[in-house]
């Protein structure tokens, strides 16, 4: 705590890491000093009076002025001028913070209960925000269900994600070698960008959104240009050469399934994935359904059409393409105790068939389709936002 206080430029604030953070911190410090001055003044006078004018006899009859307009104005006008000055500085800072520069790097942020999805212009998406250093980044915020709020304390940046409309925020993180380090836990020898230093900051959901609100936390990684480009390439093509079940395992982590569906048999907001495949499920309407490929596909894509008895229809719709759905189903199969191996795969039509083709080829094709389509979607979204935002 003391270390963080000492490091911070803003008194008690985290280390500033965006271009406008210093401006915010400056005003923050100014108000802090003003407040400190008035606190000391008021407390000091109060304690002095309490001691100095202590009652010595119950019948004391002190006399004094009842009112003095000059005095009243004297202590009203200077504070008024001070708060007006604070207002002006605050407003100027606010305009900087809320006006994204032209040519910002744009990322679409989809928030849902309870997770984030950051989609880059090349169509790749992730549950962590990776951004380039020294370049303005504009986030277009949307929500799939309730109001969320994206908050990065180090950037002094916060904006609500309101369902039914797009909000925007932006920030630019200057490269600061002192804050950058290589995240040893994530180093993958095959991928050069994981070995490059990044600046890592916490990203919180700041608007209460339900059960796992406090787990709706992720990270912002700020890269230098080279490693950022490498990251983007990797992001767009991560499914390349990956077996479907591994794709599913990663999606399970990154698409937020993990928040509600456990792997160990305990039930959360949703049923566990353990031993779900091929078992009979009882629905809220009493219907009994076997959890086969079609059932799982339907439940993933249209989560609230049928609900297993004992649960609430609370799952958001997650945007997934066919390869991803197939991957998730393949992954869920591996979670059955009687899973015996990968003789069986699921193709894009959701029909079971004996595996004949090389899974890598199929997944690759799917991934390319994904990238193209999401790229188009990105364009659509840009068109939909009103022109004055761009």
């Amino acid at each position: 705590m003391i270390v963080s206080l000492a490091q911070a430029q803003g008194i008690g604030m985290p280390v500033p890491a965006s271009t406008y953070a210093n401006e915010v911190d400056w005003l923050w410090n100014f108000i802090t000093w003003v407040s400190l001055f008035f606190t000391v003044l008021i407390m000091g006078l109060m304690f002095y009076f309490v001691i100095k004018y202590k009652r010595k006899h119950p019948d004391e009859r002190p006399h004094g002025m009842h009112h003095n307009t000059a005095l009243e104005l004297g202590w009203s006008i200077p504070p008024l001028l001070i708060v007006l000055a604070i207002f002006v500085w605050g407003f100027r800072g606010f305009l900087d913070i809320t006006t994204p520069p032209a040519n910002s790097y744009e990322v679409l942020v989809t928030s849902y209960k309870w997770g984030w999805s950051f989609t880059h212009p090349n169509g790749g998406s992730s549950d962590e925000l990776h951004i380039p250093a020294d370049r303005p980044v504009k986030l277009v915020l949307e929500s799939q269900d309730v109001i969320h709020s994206l908050f990065v304390p180090a950037f002094r940046a916060k904006k609500d994600c309101v369902p039914g409309r797009y909000n925007e925020m932006w920030f630019e993180a200057p490269w600061n070698p002192q804050l950058a380090e290589v995240n040893q836990e994530r180093v993958n020898p095959e991928k050069a960008w994981t070995q490059a230093p990044t600046m890592a900051f916490d990203l919180y959901c700041a608007e209460y959104c339900g059960t796992s609100h406090s787990r709706m936390i992720t990270m912002v990684y700020v890269h230098q240009q080279e490693s950022f480009e490498a990251y983007l390439d990797d992001l767009a093509n991560w499914m390349e050469g990956m077996p479907p079940a591994d794709i599913g395992a990663r999606l399970y982590q990154t698409k937020g399934c993990i928040q509600c569906h456990s792997l160990d048999g305990t039930s959360g907001n949703g049923p566990t994935f353990r031993n779900i495949y091929g078992t009979e499920r009882v629905m809220t309407n009493g219907e009994r359904v076997v959890a086969d490929n079609n059932y799982l596909r339907q439940s993933i894509l249209y989560p609230n059409q049928t609900i297993v008895a004992g649960y609430q229809p609370v799952m958001p719709r997650i945007n997934l393409n066919d390869v991803e759905v197939a991957g998730l189903i393949a992954y869920i199969k591996t979670l059955s105790d009687d899973y015996t191996g990968d003789q069986v795969s699921v193709d894009v039509d959701g029909v079971e068939e004996t595996e004949k083709t090389d899974p890598g080829v199929e997944a690759t094709t799917g991934a390319i389709i994904t990238a193209e389509q999401t790229g188009q979607e990105q364009d659509n979204i840009q068109q939909e936002t009103p022109p004055d935002q761009e």
Partner: protein, 590 residues
């Protein structure tokens, strides 16, 4: 206990009152019905006191539950994350809802206001005694909804099968009921909002009553600017209550309609606008903050002057600043929505007006200080609480400037900084003023002394506990700790540990204060009519007051002129000298 001869009830001249004439409102009429059907504002005030303190206890239990949950960074009560987090979410929601709707809003107006307003006016009752009783029962009915919500929640936890029978219980939306979360929540939102709706009516009826009373029942000689400042504060509060609460009522009604009838005014899926809900809600709830703080300022104005034994300084400025706060309070609601995507122009206007609200508040603080200057200051318990109030209100008010400044607010909005700020203002200030008022008027309400020593111990525990709990939260918030988190990253652990320990100290202090009152009711000695030497009209009658408030209607004089009262060591109170005060003596002998 040694047997102490029971001291006699004395009048304002220090003379014993004839035993048969010593009828008071507590002994006037016996049996439970004489309480439940009473139209006497004093008894209604006492019943409010019992109910509101019960609500405070309930809200306090949730506070301790949630602070205890936060003592570890991860799940504390239940291993299962969903159960644990839902439990926490419901705890902070019910803590907020119960404390706001059932404790802070009614605390000072409904208890102290109801009891003191007619007395301070020299009147026999409020303008509409029946409406007053109806207001009490609205409060009871509204609270019953919340108890229903709570009971359902508890039973659902104990017997999970019940959920299928009667739907979800508890409440997990936060006390603000933000849409669309509240539209979709499976908890008992409809019942809770219906409860808040009915409680709103209680508040409206009290407001109507106070406005009519202050306008119509002021005695001859009490012009607007000779009213005690507590009445000014209650008047300003009532204006807010009647102008803002109906908007909350319709907002909650629309929310109920969203949940039951598929009306879509706030639902984006049905073409509505969720941010509109926030505008509606804060149009009420920001002024509601002033419903909480204005009466508190009124109490402090009384206490500071009496315990400095000096005329209040700047009466006109204090009175008008109450009205200024009430009016400006209606124009700042948008400062809760700087991050929602509201237009920059609108944010600027709201920020500017928010800044200007700081000035009337500052005027009050400086006037209180000047009142103390060259006074004769007695640090009795009420004065200690008043000084504690100034301390907490100064911190709470100044941190409000951080939140009003647009660029800084973007960082601290929805963090623990906000939590700390509004606890300093609402709890610190309102609770301290409430306790100051309770200790100040206690001898008048019950005619009993209380233990100064233990009351002071209670104060120091509450004061220390409060600051320990909440000051550290400013630091946690500026570091970025978001509010309403059941679990949190490790770097915030130390702040939460300190805060939780503080909350335990605070709890102990509150129980000490409660113990002092209970002890006083059982063992307290008879107090004189005017133990503090105050001059507002409520001190011109016996303690406790008779059923009709005054045996002899006192003439209205300057409430802050204490020069006629002299100390009587035998009574340990102040008495009027009949020779010095011919008018009063005349009235008494008439």
């Amino acid at each position: 206990m040694s047997v102490i001869p029971k001291p006699a009830v004395t009048d304002i001249f220090g003379k014993p009152v004839d035993e048969q004439k010593a009828d008071n409102y507590l002994t006037h009429g016996r049996g439970i019905l004489s309480w439940l059907l009473t139209l006497d504002h004093k008894r209604i005030g006492i019943m409010y006191m019992v109910l509101v303190l019960a609500a405070f206890f309930l809200g306090g239990v949730f506070a301790i539950v949630l602070r205890t949950e936060l003592i570890t960074p991860n799940e504390t009560f239940f291993a299962d994350a969903t159960t644990n987090n839902d439990f926490y979410n419901q705890s902070f929601t019910l803590h907020g809802a119960v404390m706001v709707f059932m404790f802070i809003i009614p605390a000072i107006p409904a208890i102290l206001g109801n009891f003191m307003l007619p007395l301070m006016l020299g009147a026999k009752d409020v303008a509409f005694p029946r409406l007053n009783l109806l207001s009490l029962y609205c409060y009871l009915a509204g609270s019953a909804f919340f108890l229903w919500v709570l009971g359902k929640g508890v039973l659902n936890i104990l017997f999970p099968t019940l959920v299928g029978v009667w739907g979800g219980g508890g409440l997990d939306t936060g006390w603000t009921f933000y849409t669309p979360y509240s539209t979709d929540s499976t908890t008992a939102v409809t019942a809770a909002t219906a409860g808040a709706f009915v409680l709103g009516f209680s508040s409206i009826l009290t407001g109507v009553n106070f406005i009519a009373s202050i306008h119509m029942l002021r005695p001859k000689g009490m012009g607007w600017f000779r009213m005690p400042l507590f009445l000014w504060a209650l008047y300003a509060t009532s204006i807010i209550q009647i102008l803002a609460t109906p908007v909350l009522a319709i907002t909650l009604l629309l929310l109920i309609a969203e949940r039951t009838l598929n009306v879509g005014i706030f639902d984006p899926a049905l073409g509505g606008d969720p941010v509109l809900y926030q505008h509606f809600f804060w149009f009420y709830s920001h002024p509601a903050v002033y419903i909480m703080i204005l009466p508190a300022m009124g109490v402090i104005s009384e206490v500071i002057s009496v315990f400095s034994r000096k005329h209040i300084f700047g009466y006109g400025f204090i009175a008008m600043s109450s009205l200024a706060i009430a009016i400006l309070g209606f124009l700042v609601w948008g400062h809760h929505m700087f991050t929602s995507g509201q237009s920059a122009l609108l944010s600027a206007v709201f920020s500017l007006i928010t800044m200007t609200v700081a000035i009337p508040s500052a005027i009050k603080v400086f006037n209180w200080l000047t009142t103390m200057y060259r006074g004769s200051i007695l640090l009795a318990t009420p004065m200690l609480y008043a000084i504690g109030f100034i301390w907490l209100f100064t911190i709470g008010g100044l941190t409000g400037v951080f939140l009003g400044a647009l660029s800084v607010d973007l960082h601290v909005h929805d963090t623990y900084f906000v939590v700390a700020h509004f606890h300093y203002v609402m709890v610190g200030s309102t609770l301290f003023a409430f306790l100051a008022g309770m200790h100040y008027w206690w001898p008048k309400m019950f005619g009993k002394t209380y233990s100064e020593k233990w009351a002071k111990i209670g104060f120091w525990l509450i004061f220390a506990g409060f600051n320990l709990t909440f000051f550290i939260q400013f630091v946690a918030g500026s570091q970025g700790m978001p509010r309403r988190y059941a679990t949190y990253p490790d770097q915030f652990h130390i702040y939460h540990v300190i805060s939780t320990l503080g909350s335990y100290v605070l709890t102990v202090g509150l129980f000490v204060a409660l113990g002092v009152w209970i002890h006083s009711l059982i063992y307290g000695r008879q107090t004189p009519a005017n133990p503090w030497g105050a001059n507002a009209l409520e001190w011109h009658t016996t303690s406790p007051p008779p059923h009709h408030n005054f045996n002899k209607t006192p003439p209205a004089t300057d409430p802050y002129d204490y020069s006629h009262w002299t100390y009587d060591a035998e009574l340990d109170g102040y008495v009027l000298n009949e020779d010095n005060e011919p008018e009063e003596a005349e009235a008494a002998h008439a």
